[in-house]
Amino acid sequence: MTTRRVEVENLTKYYGDNLVLDRVNLGVGIHEVVCLIGASGSGKSTLLRCINRLVDYDDGCILLDGKDIDSEEMPQNELRKRIGIVFQAYNLFPHMTVMDNITLAPRKVHGIDRAETEERARELLDLFDMGGYAASYPDRLSGGQQQRVAIVRAMATNPDVLLLDEVTAALDPELIGGVLAVIRELKAEGMTMVIVTHEMGFARDSADRVCFLDAGRIVEESPPDKLFAEPENPRTRQFLQRIIEAGRL
């Protein structure tokens, strides 16, 4: 159990009277890639946002390397440095260049000097084929390029865990490949990731484990080969059946 990087225990979350997470348990090991799948409203994005406390939860707890993220032992700055998140709509700052978007948090939050953080940013941009865009503003880039910048921004503080929230959902089909390639690259480098996705093919190829959420609970959790080939839970089967009918798997 000590190799668990993230441990979610009995996580419960209400939006008003609406129960969105119902005693969820989830462990994520070091270097592990976990995909969360499920219908809209099943609670997967909320679960993801609880892990870096963008959303507060009502009950249960989340541990990062054994430390409760909602306690004194895990200051918020530390938590956000160690857990990066990438959003569906990129959420880049439109008034800042690509470089400033990436280096803002390292410089202002973590006190790293400009030269050092820019060097790291350049390395990451080069790695993801975005080397020529450091001085561009986000609105000059395609969605796929913006999303790659957003991933670099989340990686700029050297996080231990990366959370990806439907990062390809807003992209045109021909741009999705480039972003998925970046994620595979991160996996190859051993990044620990929790990924909410509707890209079932990607989940099947890249995840170490897939969790199917339904009505705020993880109802099935297994390696992708097993979950996609022989799902045990009837609701998982029903969900996958619909995906297949829609031609998405």
Binding site: N52, L54, Q76, N77, L79, R80, K81, G84, I85, F87, A89, N91, L92, F93, P94, H95, L104, A105, K108, V109, H110, D139, R153, A154, T157
Partner: protein
């Protein structure tokens, strides 16, 4: 283009001819447009207007700063910030709810009458304070609208990167908010430029006051027209610039969404 020039020329030409040929025109002209009265009063009016401009620029700078502080106070989250929020809301409500003229009388006559040691007593100073106090409340609301127009996802991104509440405002929200409301801020500047003339009621010798002094002596109102022309020369270009900027800004936004 040619047609619009021609039709404009005809309409305005006819209007001018009609007004000029009226039997009352010479009296009107003498009362409001007397070249001699304008020449005579102009140096004093211009001197007064120079004061208007200085008060305007200084007050505008202070207003932009104070209003931003108010808007930030009002937007703070969390129970600890509650007194700041309440103070900002109370201030804004009061200052926006009271006529500017009343504020000027209150500050310009009231405060100097207290004869508090160590404080300036000049009507000019306290009148300017009144203008700043009132306009800062309006401008704070302009900023606030701009801040609220910044999408929540920007806040989420900033928080996820570990930025504090203050850093989120400073680096993510306020720069975008100011861009959002720049046309409204420019409009406020045009409005302030004219409202500085209200200080004339507490004896500040601005353009309007100087013009009135001339009028009181000669019973000719041309000096007020001279002052009006000066106000127009300052405000019309700024208003045109505001229009131009707002249009360009809108085009830029359209381009972005395409």
């Amino acid at each position: 283009m040619l047609a619009s020039v021609a039709s404009t020329g005809v309409v305005f030409g006819l209007a001018a001819w009609w007004i000029g040929s009226s039997e009352y025109w010479p009296a009107v002209q003498n009362q409001f447009f007397s070249g001699e009265a304008i020449r005579e009063s102009f140096p004093a009016v211009l001197r007064g207007f120079w004061l208007n401009l200085r008060v305007w620029v200084i007050a505008q700078i202070v207003i932009l700063f104070v209003a931003l502080v108010l808007a930030v106070m009002r937007s703070l989250h969390g129970p600890i910030a509650a007194p700041f929020r309440i103070a900002a809301v109370a201030y804004i409500d009061f200052m926006r709810g009271v006529p500017a003229l009343l504020l000027i009388l209150l500050f310009g006559f009231g405060v100097p009458a207290l004869q508090l040691p160590g404080l300036p007593r000049g009507a000019l100073f306290w009148g300017s304070v009144a203008m700043i106090a009132g306009y800062a409340a309006y401008t704070a609301e302009v900023y606030r609208a701009g801040m609220e127009a910044v999408h929540d996802s920007q806040r989420a991104a900033a928080r996820a990167l570990g930025l504090s509440q203050w850093q989120t405002l400073r680096y993510a929200i306020i720069p975008q908010a100011i861009r959002n409301v720049l046309p409204a801020l420019l409009n406020g500047a045009v409005s302030l430029q004219k409202d500085v003339a209200l200080l004339s009621v507490i004896g500040v010798r601005d353009a309007v006051r100087e013009a009135q002094i001339y009028t009181a002596r000669t019973f000719n109102y041309s000096s007020l027209i001279a002052a009006a022309v000066l106000f127009l020369i300052a405000s019309v270009p700024l208003a045109r610039f505001t229009d131009w900027y707002a249009r360009r800004d809108q085009e830029r936004r359209l381009q972005r969404t395409l």
